[in-house]
């Protein structure tokens, strides 16, 4: 009886508290509804309009703007650049972050000093990072002339001024193999790696790898030492401990880091604009920069909106599966 009353009270409580919970989330939902989804909707609307000067023109033109966009040589280059940048940046940050974290996890004297040094670039804005690295990687200065300070010859790297794109040439052996496999279209600069982009990756990695290091460090610390100790007692080498115990347990950290890095790289703008801008032959151009210029320099508002819709679509392809996966996994736990 007592239990029944208590249960009913709990139930009533639950519903009214549930309502309160929903009420608590509603302001955020409303704000995001307007500032994110409302504005996405606005962009989508503009992206199918004829708006091509500062005077809005909402005449419906279907998917014309998207067709123009995918035929645009600059946009094709931008897609390649984004893919190259994202892959290199994420891999570099994860690798460097993990290496530094696992080194710091070995009872290092002065750990907090090292940690602060690796982490502090994150406090600097991308704009400042871009300006400094623009100097550091200038062909006739910076890193290139550093060896001359100890009597060696200057390096001759072009860094972000190097317009060359490394790709599979059609007449190379690999190119012929691709053609034979029906993948001949891959032997094309549009599927290559623009060397100048590597400089931007270096700067971005300088800024973000410390953050990944801290995430991994936190992850490593959360793994019970007994687990690793037990493995060592069983005769596992350090590499084996790493491969079979630490790395699998760090997978959630890796995924979170990938999402944070990935969304930064897809939206990257400040760093590029203050470091190399478009780069030689658009070698460091990115969609956000193209959108900014086509909208606010060229007044091609509908094209700009189309770029942002494509960028969002690209992000969704990456993020929705991840969110689906992580929410499902949570539900199973």
């Amino acid at each position: 009886m007592n239990v029944g009353i208590r249960g009913r009270r709990l139930l009533r409580l639950a519903t009214s508290e549930q309502a309160a919970a929903i009420a608590l989330i509603i302001p955020s939902l409303l704000a995001v509804g307007v500032f994110v989804y409302g504005f996405i909707g606005w962009s989508a609307f503009v992206s199918v309009s004829r708006w091509d000067s500062v005077r809005p023109d909402y005449t419906f033109v279907g998917l014309d703007n998207f067709r123009d966009l995918f035929e645009n040589f600059r946009f094709q280059i931008d897609i390649r650049n984004t893919v190259v940048f994202t892959v290199l940046f994420v891999v570099a940050c994860l690798t460097l972050g993990f290496v530094l974290a696992s080194l710091l996890d070995r009872r290092i004297v002065g750990e907090s000093v090292f940690r602060s040094i690796y982490l502090f670039p994150m406090a600097v804005s991308f704009i400042v990072t871009g300006v400094v690295w623009r100097w550091l990687l200038a062909p006739s200065a910076g890193v290139n002339i550093l060896p001359t300070k100890v009597g060696l010859r200057a390096l001759g790297y072009g860094w972000y001024t190097d317009p060359s794109v490394t790709y599979v040439h059609s007449d190379s052996r690999l190119g012929e193999a691709l053609h034979a496999a029906g993948l001949g279209f891959l032997a094309n600069p549009n599927y290559g790696v623009p060397l100048a982009m590597i400089s931007v990756v270096i700067a971005a990695t300088w800024q973000m790898s410390g953050f990944v290091m801290v995430m991994y460090l936190a992850g490593l610390r959360a793994i019970p030492e007994e687990l690793r100790e037990a493995a060592r007692v069983d005769g596992a080498t350090e590499t084996q401990v790493l491969r079979h115990i630490s790395l699998p347990l760090l997978r959630p950290v890796t995924l979170s880091a990938m999402i944070i890095l990935g969304h930064q790289s897809l939206k990257i703008f400040d760093l590029v604009i203050s470091m190399s801008r478009r780069g030689p032959g658009f070698a460091t151009d990115v969609p956000a920069l193209f959108m900014f210029e086509t909208t606010f320099q060229g007044n091609h508002f509908s094209h700009g909106a189309a770029i942002s819709i494509v960028m969002l679509a690209a992000v969704s392809v990456l993020v929705i599966p991840y969110l689906y996966w992580s929410l499902r996994r949570e539900a199973r736990l």
Partner: protein, 273 residues
């Protein structure tokens, strides 16, 4: 003995990386201490002929009121962001309701919107709210676009706060707000530190929203003033670099002071679901 050598190797690697990470700061500092005539790309590694703080003084003089504006905007925005994120994370972990995962997804997806594409509707919306052109307009903008990341961090963080604690309190008849105040909030410090650091840094360093929302130089944040120190044609790099360092100082201090708590917060589960 072998152990000894491997320790030395580890330290050597750590020190080499530390030097690499500090290299850009060395350039910033050395250039800031030079006179305009000494600033040359091919002499960037050289120390200044003599110490002079003129560039720092000049940079500070043109930035001081803007630094104050930045603080006036960043502090409330960070605090409100923390509160909003904390409450969202709390509700989404401890008071799940049908569709709460969908709500979480909808909130999170906002993280991926390219900000350059929202500027025009943003201005119109802020005008409708009568906050366009003011620091409060920036606060509103940053709080709203901060909802995804702050909610994500707190949701991950609270997922590791034992649900039994909350359930027990529910059975004892505590209200949703009472549980938050008495149980969840006191446990939240590490989460708050992570969110505060994240938001403080990104809001402080923002340029795009700042330049779009505030056009009156009297209220513009420091990043806009810093950008204006670079002329359209001639850039005084020494003053520019000094200004960049001054502008980065508050965030650097935050990182150095709170770095330890940052790691603790991350260990406690923020950011790793």
């Amino acid at each position: 003995m072998t152990v000894h050598w491997s320790r030395i190797a580890i330290y050597a690697v750590l020190i080499v990386f530390a030097a690499l990470y500090l290299m850009p700061i060395y350039v910033l500092l050395v250039t800031g201490l030079k006179s305009f005539g000494e600033v040359r790309l091919d002499q960037m590694w050289d120390l200044p002929s003599r110490l002079r703080f003129d560039s720092f003084r000049e940079a500070y003089n043109s930035l001081d009121s803007n630094l104050a504006n930045s603080f006036k905007m960043v502090i409330p925005a960070t605090l409100i962001s923390c509160m909003v994120g904390s409450i969202n994370g709390y509700v989404l972990t401890k008071w799940r309701f049908p569709g709460s995962n969908v709500v979480f997804f909808l909130l999170l997806y906002g993280m991926f919107i390219p900000y350059q594409s929202v500027l025009i509707p943003l201005v119109k919306t802020l005008q409708a709210l009568h906050v366009y052109g003011s620091l409060w307009g920036l606060v509103v903008t940053h709080v709203i676009y901060g909802i995804p990341i702050t909610t994500l961090i707190f949701r991950n963080y609270y997922a590791n706060v034992p649900t039994e604690l909350v359930e027990a309190a529910k059975i004892d008849g505590a209200s949703i707000f009472g549980i938050y105040r008495r149980i969840v909030f006191p446990l939240s410090l590490p989460g708050f530190v992570v969110v505060a650091i994240w938001q403080f840094t990104s809001i402080w360093n923002d340029f795009l929203f700042a330049v779009t929302v505030t056009s009156n130089p009297a209220i513009q944040p420091a990043t806009v003033a810093l950008n204006n120190m670079a002329g359209s044609f001639i850039v005084e790099w020494n003053v520019q670099m000094a200004g960049a360092l001054i502008t980065a100082l508050p965030t650097l201090v935050v990182y150095i002071l709170l770095g330890r708590f940052f790691v603790r917060g991350l260990m406690a589960g923020a950011l790793s679901s």
